[in-house]
Symmetry: C2
Subunit: 268 residues, 2 copies
């Protein structure tokens, strides 16, 4: 079993990802796909005149401020537009995809963060109207039933809180939780960069291998969105996933390349 | 097995529907839910400044003109906002709901109507850029696997065309196809009216019973959206569904009332 996370940024070659996946499945691989939709979410918020605000946690991680109106747009962009479009495309490419979110069938249960300590303009603030959460459990039986029957779950945030509210969860960390829940050998995190770079301005500065024990030495290179990817990778390895690869999804056969180690490989 | 269609108009008491459904399921009933989202679709189109246009077919049926931009909004309103919200609410009410659209897992396959003969301002026109379709098949095995495992599929249009395009299909007719595919004994079509009325302005003019053989005598009473509901009911009966009920979803325990025959009952 492999889990593929497809980033939500611009420039991803989705057709190449799904054509590659169809070939892998034909040769016997079982797979689960998790996707983001950050770029489409930004576009929709602009069309809806919805202000977008980022929260920086006291430990320095950035996340999207998700009030009720933003969560409504989130479900429309992630579950409505992107999940439906990607499921249709995957099926066209020969992947027996079944689109779903963490809400469906209790797939991803989360605890909502009811009060978030954040830093804004150098001041510490407490945010109480945010609908973000931390995944507590994954419905492994549902995923096993679907993959066992030949389907490829194509999964989008949000998750569902203990009070049955859809909550924003980070896609990379969701992919890590899912990979761990199903006992995946590999988690491939595809995005629009070649992997973790020493210098974000230089695509030739790729870090090819990180061992879990040394991860702290590389954390300083992870900027912005890449920080959550590193966090997800570490979580996945610590929960027993054999290998995580950050790889480029702008190329042909991106999954083959990732499984060949082209990207940043993170190992126990 | 019963199939419940929940209309997409204003005033539906969704909580009452799902609380009622949870009790029925606890007493051994298997169920599948299909929903509309017409009201939310209208609201989203207004927010997006997307012009809404209705098509009247040469046989007099109204449907939504669904070009590429409208289909994008359609997936956002139906699959994104409404399906996610209803799935979360159903789960809160104790229904083990799994939200999905006709695209997911090849649930509803359709033929896209590539040229629609319509009437506009009294003139016949041919519309070629519409993404609407007719359902050709339902993935019965997927529904049986999910219901057999204790899940309640909560299904939204669109369907997927033979060229892998999401296509708009009428929710009532989709519910009829699904009810027939799974061999449902009853199809309950809930909306914000008590059933088929002789006079749409008078809620006391309910037609309590229609036999399939006499349906033509009642078709003249069906106006607007109700015409498609009658068409769906006739299709369901002709495909072997035991009984169809049009009933009111603005009340408490709306499914019990419908199963008790409170509404318009259509029988073979």
């Amino acid at each position: 079993m492999i889990v593929i996370k497809i980033g939500g940024g611009e420039g991803i070659n989705h057709r190449a990802v799904f054509e590659n996946l169809a070939k892998l499945i034909a040769s016997g691989t079982q797979a689960i796909v998790v996707h983001g939709a950050n770029h489409e979410m930004k576009e929709l918020c602009e069309r809806l005149d919805l202000p977008q605000r980022m929260i920086t946690s006291v430990s320095g991680y950035e996340s999207r401020y998700t009030d009720v109106a933003t969560m409504e747009a989130f479900t429309m962009a992630y579950c409505g537009k992107v999940n439906t479009t990607l499921t249709a495309l995957a099926r066209q490419c020969g992947v027996n995809a079944i689109g779903m979110s963490g809400v469906d069938g209790g797939l991803m249960s989360a605890t909502r963060k009811k009060a978030i300590r954040a830093v804004e303009d150098g001041r510490k603030i407490l945010i109480r109207d945010d609908y973000s959460g931390k995944i507590e459990s994954v419905n492994r039986e549902l995923l096993q039933m679907l993959t066992g029957a030949g389907y490829v779950p194509l999964i989008s945030p949000p998750a569902l809180s203990e009070e049955f509210e859809p909550v924003n969860v980070d896609g990379d960390r969701a992919a890590a939780e899912i990979a761990a829940a199903v006992g995946a050998e590999k988690l491939v995190i595809l995005s629009n960069v070649p992997g973790l770079l020493r210098d974000v301005a230089d695509e030739n500065s790729l870090i090819p291998l990180i061992e879990r024990g040394n991860v702290e030495a590389f954390e300083a290179f992870a900027k912005g969105r890449m920080r959550k990817k590193v966090m997800g990778a570490v979580e996945a390895i610590d929960m027993g996933v054999g290998e995580v690869v950050f790889a480029d999804a702008r190329i042909e056969a991106p999954i083959d390349a990732a499984l060949d180690g082209k990207g940043t490989v993170i190992r126990p």
